[in-house]
Amino acid sequence: MPRESAQAEAAERFRRAFNDSTGCVTAEPVQIIPHGRRLRALRLEAELHSRRRRRFRLELAQAFTIREHPTHGPKAHTVSYRYMLDAENGPMLRYEWTPDLGIAWPHLHVYGGPALPDGKPFDRLHLPTGRVTVERLVWLLIEGFEVAPLKPLAESKRILASNERLFEHFKTW
């Protein structure tokens, strides 16, 4: 397969996994935004509703490039991500890995906690998390925030587990 086609296929596989996983909770459009020669960003904004009629706003963004895997050929390589969840009365959670800014490691901001000893708001803390996949976030939305899945629960679990296994298989760190 020509190199360009193989790279396009790798990007499409990544997009499909993102689609399938987020499709467990929303049917909102996915934006595919290229930037520069190699970078692509997948973005999604959605209103979600819990089974108890609470509303949330979700913003997902994941930037990736295509790199050569030593054994599997071209594969998508996440280079940054940002997942933000707002409640009706303001922001709640922000998972991010934006290594081009001051904090290079994946972390979480939590809103609404107690003020820190120096008086700064709790959300200024960078709570270390390790890499957080879209799949784990979507499962958190379903299980923790009771967002009604768009598919039967067993199917949603299967999709998320399958894509999570793919991530675990291919991750480089």
Partner: protein, 79 residues
């Protein structure tokens, strides 16, 4: 921008590289009141290196910064 549906019926909005640049610029102006070029210039100069810099507005734009890593004098910290 082209809008299509995948096999599952999900809408996909694919933008061109030029549109991607326009989106970046539009969002930089909306979130920070500066152009994307100015945001990148400030980033290159280290304006967003501090731990307080990752506000929601800045991190929304930082998604695009990996495209500029080769241009930065200071190396980005990978992990």
């Amino acid at each position: 921008m082209t809008e299509t549906r995948d096999k599952a019926g999900r809408i996909l909005r694919r933008y061109t590289v030029r549109e991607g640049r326009e989106i970046f610029d539009r969002e930089a102006r909306a979130k920070l009141g500066i152009s994307a070029a100015e945001f990148v210039r400030r980033w290159r100069a280290g304006a967003y290196d501090g731990p307080e810099a990752d506000t929601p507005e800045v991190t929304a734009l930082a998604i695009f910064l990996p495209a500029y890593r080769a241009q930065r004098k200071r190396p980005s910290r990978s992990r």
